[in-house]
Amino acid sequence: MKALIISDLDFKTDLFKQLNSLLTGYLLEKGSSIERIEIGRNDLAFCRGCFGCWVQKPGECVVDDKMTEINRSYMSADVVFFLSPVVFGQFSANMKNARDRWLPNMLPFFKVRPDGSTIHPPRYDDYPTLLIIGYADEITEEDLKLFIDITKKHLREIEAFIFRDENGKADLINALDKIKLMKVRGII
């Protein structure tokens, strides 16, 4: 198994270190290889909404920076852990830049989902299992719900968790044990 852990270089808090250590131990025990990518403030350009990744260079961002490496590693992994600080109930700026610039991995077209809403369909047949884990020392119930809604409500294939303190370690491991950490079919 190939695991990729993407995290925010600017939020390496004690809580992050606990989470990172927990995941590392878990993955090594499963015999997985681990690649790590940390995103700093100046590593990624902002997505500028040009849609060049759809209509100029389909499948690749037209801005050639660290995101090229991230997207390549992402698509070759079996499982991706996206560890993000929770800021205002969503991803931190560094992590949101990476989420925004993941767009090339989808197709531009509009499709209708089973619930009747619109979505861009998958570009690839298979994707790594994506687990988004938000961490925050202090988080309101409102922001906690918001983070889960942002990550899970619109994208059915994503698993999302919040890690608040070391008491959550057992819950996270239990949750991971229930998930097949392998490539999955792209769905709408």
Partner: protein, 235 residues
């Protein structure tokens, strides 16, 4: 704070460069309405502010605002990373200055490329959370579906109802600022007045036309540059 002057800061946060964005269009529209209502208005452009290194000047203006209206496109179901950078750093700025935005009213205007306005809901929640973090009062949001077609079709007869509802929402914001309203106001949802199926059809056709203008064929849009050599279960 500027007391009775009712100083409104309008923040336009489209990361698009070189083309007229829906967010800039909506901020222009707000400016016209608010000036007509007698407000003092100020426009900030997040992209330009970050590029020009003008951020601290703009933050100082935000600290003095009676109302802040944040207009932005939805990116992957939430705020663009560029706007998150701007707001995250603003919170740090307030902390360093030992200031908060007590008394400032905040409104969100979000437009998305999908026809469903409700998809913007969580993004408005993020602006509400940001408002709490800086001690400001979040009031309500305007959620627009099909925002991508506003600039090109705003004068078309079939968009009259949509544009009327958007204008009505801006007037409601202005009135709320004027009376310093505190009663809860629900978010306002507005969608382009065309059937979703037609919106999808036109959008899908548009991608193919754009590809052809870049000397690509329709099949090129399906390229898989990061396709691993093998896929499936492993480990």
């Amino acid at each position: 704070m500027s007391g009775d002057k009712n100083n409104i800061v309008m923040i336009s946060a489209s990361p698009k460069a070189g083309t007229e964005s829906a967010s800039a269009f909506l901020a222009d529209l707000q400016a016209r309405f608010f000036r007509d209502m007698g407000f003092s208005t100020l426009r900030l452009d997040v992209r330009k502010s970050l590029i020009r290194g003008n951020v601290e000047n703009d933050y100082a203006l935000m600290l003095e605002a009676d109302a802040i209206i944040i207009t932005f496109p939805l990116y992957i179901y939430c705020l663009p990373g560029m706007l998150m950078r701007f707001l995250q750093d603003y919170l740090d700025f307030c902390r360093v200055k030992g200031r908060n935005n007590s008394g400032t009213r905040i409104y969100a205007v979000v437009n998305c490329g999908f026809p469903e306005a409700w998809i913007n809901n969580e993004a408005v929640g993020v602006i509400s959370s940001f408002s709490r973090s800086i001690g400001a009062m979040f009031r309500f949001g305007l959620l627009i579906g099909g925002g991508g077609m506003l600039v090109g079709t705003c004068d078309a007869p079939f968009m009259r109802k949509t544009m009327g509802r958007i204008s009505g929402a801006f007037i409601k914001m202005g009135e709320d600022i004027k009376i310093k309203g505190s009663e809860k106001i629900d978010n306002i949802l507005v969608e382009a007045s065309i059937p979703h199926r037609l919106y999808h059809f036109m959008g899908n056709k548009g991608w193919v036309i754009s590809a052809k203008s870049n000397n690509l064929k329709k099949k090129d849009l399906y390229r898989k540059p990061y396709q691993p050599e093998t896929s499936g279960e492993s480990g």
